[in-house]
C-alpha cells in the first residue's frame, strides 16, 4: 500500500478500536446498572438499562458495516487483516454482553420485593467480579497486552465458583420456601447470564491474545470449575 493509503487505513482502524472501546464501556455500564437495579429494586434504572441495549445493537451494526467497507476498500493483509477480523469478533461478543445485561434488567421487576435473602449479595459480588473481568479485557484490547488477556482468561474459574455457590444457595431457598420458586428461577437465570458474560470476556481474551501473539489459547487448557446446574 502507498503511504497515504496506509495512513488512512491506520486512522480508520484506530477509529474502529475507539468505537469498540466505547461500545465496551456501554456494555460495562449495562452490567453494573442491571445488578444495581436488581439489588436496590430500582425499576427506573432497570428500564433505562434495557433501553441502552438498542444503542449497543446499533453500534455493532455500524462497526460491522465499516469493517466490511474497510475490507473492500483497503484490502488489508497479515496483521492488519487479523486486527480487522478481531474487531468484528469483539463487537459480536460485546453485543451479546449487552443482550445478557438487558435480560438481567428485564427480570428486576419479577424479583423485586421478594425476600431472597443473601442471594442478592451473591449476585452483587458476582456482578462486580464480572464487571472487573470486562474492564480488564477491554484494557488488554486497548493496550494490545497479551499478558493481561491471559490473566483474564485464567480467572474465569473464579466467576464459575461464584456461579456455583449462588446456584446452591438459590436451590436451598427454593426448597425451604416453595413460594420463592418463581423468584428463585429468575435469580438462577440472572446468575447464569453473569456466568455467560464471563465466558464472553474469555472469548475476547482469546481474540486479543491471538491478535497480539498469533497464538491460539487452547480452551481445554483453561482452568475451569465444574459448573453446577450446568451439567
Amino acid at each position: 500500500m502507498s503511504d497515504h493509503i496506509v495512513s488512512a487505513f491506520s486512522e480508520e482502524l484506530e477509529q474502529l478500536s475507539a468505537d469498540l472501546l466505547r461500545m465496551g464501556g456501554i456494555a460495562e455500564s449495562m452490567i453494573s446498572d442491571a445488578c444495581r437495579a436488581l439489588i436496590t429494586s430500582d425499576l427506573q434504572l432497570a428500564h433505562e438499562t434495557v433501553d441502552r441495549d438498542g444503542l449497543v445493537d446499533d453500534m455493532e451494526a455500524d462497526i460491522e458495516q465499516r469493517i466490511v467497507r474497510l475490507l473492500a476498500l483497503r484490502q488489508p493483509m497479515a496483521s492488519d487483516l487479523r486486527a480487522v477480523v478481531a474487531a468484528l469478533k469483539v463487537s459480536s461478543d460485546l453485543e451479546r454482553i449487552g443482550d445478557l445485561s438487558k435480560n438481567i434488567a428485564k427480570r428486576v421487576d419479577e424479583v423485586s420485593g421478594c425476600d431472597v435473602g443473601g442471594a442478592l449479595k451473591g449476585i452483587e459480588r458476582m456482578g462486580r467480579a464480572v464487571s472487573a473481568q470486562l474492564n480488564d479485557v477491554l484494557d488488554s484490547y486497548s493496550e494490545a497486552n497479551a499478558a493481561m488477556a491471559l490473566h483474564v482468561w485464567n480467572s474465569d474459574e473464579d466467576i464459575d465458583q461464584h456461579y456455583n455457590s449462588l446456584f446452591r444457595e438459590v436451590i436451598t431457598y427454593m426448597m425451604e420456601d416453595p413460594r420463592m420458586i418463581g423468584a428463585g428461577a429468575h435469580l438462577m437465570f440472572i446468575a447464569k447470564n453473569l456466568e455467560r458474560v464471563g465466558d464472553h470476556c474469555t472469548n475476547i481474551a482469546e481474540i486479543v491474545h491471538y491478535q497480539v501473539t498469533g497464538d491460539y489459547l487452547a480452551s481445554n487448557e483453561r482452568p475451569k470449575a465444574p459448573l453446577l446446574g450446568n451439567g
Copy 2:
C-alpha cells in the same frame, strides 16, 4: 480479478459453504441426539453428543482460518465479500448451537430417573420444532433463498411459545413437589438452551436474508411472544 482467479475464488467459497453445511448437519444431529438422550435417559448417547462438540469447535476454527486466508489472498469485493463475511458469522452461530446442545447433553445425568412427568414431552416437542428451524435455515443458506429465511425468522415466535408453556409446567412441578426443584432447574436451563438455539437460527436467517437481498431484517419488527422467565 482475472478468470482463473475468479474461478479459484468461487471454488474455495463453494467448498467453504459445503463445509459450513456439514458443520450445520453435525449441530443438527447434536440437538436431536441431546433431546433423545434426555427423553430416553440414554447416558451413552449423551456422552457421544458431548464429545461431538469438539468436532464442531474444530470446524469453526478451520473455517475461520480459511476465511482469513481467503480475504487476504483473493481480496473479494461486493457480493463475494458479503458471502465471505456471512460464512464467518454463520459458523459462529453454528458453533454456539453445538455448545448449547452439548450443555443439554451434559444435564441428562442430572434429570435422568426423576419423575418430571409431562415436561419431557414438552422438551421433545420443543426440540423437534428447533431442529426443524435449523434444518430450514440451513436449506435457505444452501439455496440462497431469502423467502425461506424470512419464514424461519417469522416462526421464532412458535419456539418462544413452546418455551413459555414449558416454563409454566416446570414451575408447577417444582411447587407441587420440592424434591423436583433440582431436576426442575436443569429442565428450565434445557428449555432455555433450546430457545437460544432458536435465536441463533433467527440470526442465521437474518444473515442469509442480508446476503441474498442486501436488506437488513429489523429485529424490532419480528413477531415475538413475551418470554416468561425471561423478563
